[in-house]
Symmetry: C2
């Protein structure tokens, strides 16, 4: 038995990481997802809380592709994989 | 009376522009909006056609802000204005 260090994002305390860098990336992804959910909810009020959460997480997980699409490569979106169910 | 040149995007033939560059920008915005609507519909199947269309147009109109947010400045989203009703 031994004491070991684990890392987690305060935004999702259930999920533990052995690697700090990985926990950082996960925290940043959740941060972007939350901000996106908030602005999209205001922009399209008919969306449910769950829908904007799913949208935010989906886009935040694929942030590199969306960054390129919004910058000047709409075709980058073709690289998106279907979400795993 | 005189004949004059007007421009339009084939994606929205109702809207006419006197300025070709403006018509080009509008066409590019609609192109991005359509691609976004398509990928978001697949990612979150519960969204209605109208909801993904609104999301796509909203984000495409604000593409510069979203590009920065996805790249590395989530705070850029704070610059978004409330959508005009």
């Amino acid at each position: 038995m031994a004491v070991e260090v684990v890392y987690r994002s305060s935004r999702d305390p259930e999920r533990l990481f052995m690697d700090k860098a990985e926990a950082d990336r996960y925290d940043k992804m959740l941060e972007l997802a939350e901000s996106l959910a908030e602005v999209l909810q205001k922009a399209v009020p008919s969306l449910s809380e769950q829908q904007v959460e799913e949208l935010g997480i989906y886009m935040a997980k694929n942030r590199d592709i969306f960054a390129r699409a919004f910058k000047n490569q709409p075709d980058a979106l073709a690289e998106l994989e279907q979400p795993a169910e």
